[in-house]
Amino acid sequence: MIDAVGNPQSILLLGGTSEIGLAVVEAFASDRPLRVVLAARPSSRLDEAQARLEKLGCAVEQLPFDALALDTHAATIGKAFTGGDIDVAVVAFGLLGDNEQAWTDVDTAVELAQVNYTAAVSVGVALGEKLTAQGHGSLVAFSSVAGERARRSNFVYGSTKAGMDAFYSGLTEALRPSGVHVTVVRPGFVHTKMTEGLKPAPLSTTPDAVAAVVVDAVRSRKELVWAPAPLRVVMSVLRHVPRVIFRRLPV
């Protein structure tokens, strides 16, 4: 259960090696250790993540999860709930991909769409069912500012995030009567392994800063947050900039 001051007792991280996802888990754990289920493909990075969380006093369990194996999702999510209630579920898996390859190579394009959109929708449905039965819980979905308006430099990734953002924004409303709270998070450029070597966009941020935004959103039951917060205004302007100007902007 999430208590009166917003401490969860358990958290499920789908994308168990996601840097931002792990930063969220650590941010909660620094206030009070909790039960953690890390869902990801087995790897040494996953083991390292487990060790790091255990050092914080968390009880960590690994759960094999492959975003592309859609037909296993329902069973995997089911397994995640066998150890007791899941108070916070975080959908943090995703691929950035190389945009030039992605829009010219069909396999790359489809893989991005499958992981970032189809798989996100698939686990969203399974989580919705489990959390509804539970009557409480917070579902955090990582969207991106890239989904707000597609840019030439990043539009394949942006299109997948636009889709998943719309799905989870709708799910927010659909799950409200069941007592389940959904938060859609739209981070800007975050310095992680995924963005290594890329030129940082303005208002770039860190996993820990994004995690702080997410923790606050869960505690105060916010439904849509930007990280950092000023991106909300920036993107609101960019969304309405005429195309001829937009394509010349250095973003």
Binding site: M1, I2, D3, A4, V5, G6, N7, Q9, D31, R32, A74, D85, G128, E129, T132, A133, Q134, G135, H136, A174, P177, S178, G179, V180, S220
Partner: protein
Amino acid sequence: MDARAGFRTRVAWSAMSNTSLRGWGRTAPTTARVTTPRTVDEVAAAVTSAGPRGVIARGLGRSYGDPAQNAGGTVLDMTGMAAIHSIDADSGRVVVDAGVSLDTLMRRALPFGLWLPVLPGTRQVTIGGAIGADIHGKAHHVVGSFGNHVRALTLVTADGTTHELTPDGEGSDLFWATVGGMGLTGVVVRAELALHHVETAYFTVDTEQIDNLADLMERQTQDDELYAESVSWFDAVTTGPHFGRGILMRANHATLAELPPKLRANPLKFDAPQLLTVPDVFPPGLLNKLTGKLFSEAWYRKSPTKFGAIQNITQFLHPLDIIGEWNRGYGPRGFLQYQFVVPLDRGDVIRTVLERMTAAGQVSALNVLKRFGEGNRAPLSFPKPGWTLCVDIPVGPGLNALCNELDVIVLDAGGRHYLAKESRTTPEAIRRGYPRLDEWRKVRDAADPQGVFASDMSRRLELTA
């Protein structure tokens, strides 16, 4: 495909009948199916047909945290069973349904010269809730807690059967596990209580303004036994030499002869108006250092030292009941009430706790301090001989860390938390504070082997195995 179809129907159905529930602190809402049984048979039917998330009874929702919530399960709104079956003016025995409020029972019993010996800070509590939380009042040092005055209770257990339980007879283990058991042994549907006889509905009140905490506690220790009711309120905002200045209020039931002639004509008049209801419009952060200081100053000044004043129930016992839904004043993020008891020889903890709160910049306007008398047989009953302190703090940044710190101080001193107020501690803290938890669990598990009775609190604090 079957699972998917099942989910669709469940969602459609739940959208119609699900209710979001919170405690009086307005934090941590969860959703449950709420049903309002009108008869014992309907209670039994609801209990035996409960789904995998179980069932819990709810009264008037005055517990601050989550004991009367059951996320994803069933919640029985017991206010639908609110009959007063009998009042015996001579013996003082009354038989009532669990959904009757203390307020209703007092209004009905007072004309017979009968008085509820245990009254908490509000009368908006059901009999079932009073038993489940084993509530206490300002008279604890003399009369003990609510369970001490229950002569019999009727409990519907997990298998749907009803049990007549008494404090000493067969099944007394289950009786005392139910007292203070937070509704987790079954559903209390009816109880027989022993009330006290009084000549009037008034108190003779001695009020003393005392300008620091040490003197306040010293004074409260001296002659408490001369009074039927005793409590102190103090100011946790003022620092320096007047740190913890407060008001000690102690009272006895007024006899007919003590009343002024004007009141003697109707000595059992129940004077409990509700003047206004707070609208749900307050922003968060309204209670801050400034308003906290103003409130504290006003409260301190309004109560000069005075002996032998005649006051009615609302003036003396329930000043907050004048204002309906006063908890809305804390804004949408809600607030937390932190109440603990520490042994008598650890009165120093009270000061330590207040100093930590002040250092952390937290403002508590309502601080209530009382000296408890003996506890009772119930394994999960909160009161035990010692000092109990209760503070109200709005939910905001830093509160979590502060409360975690206070937990350690309280538990290290041999203290514990009050479950009716609890909303954020850990299972370990409860295990440490309640050494008889396992004894209680054994009785509970025997009465409910499948774990049908469950609440958000029982899950959060791992009260049931």
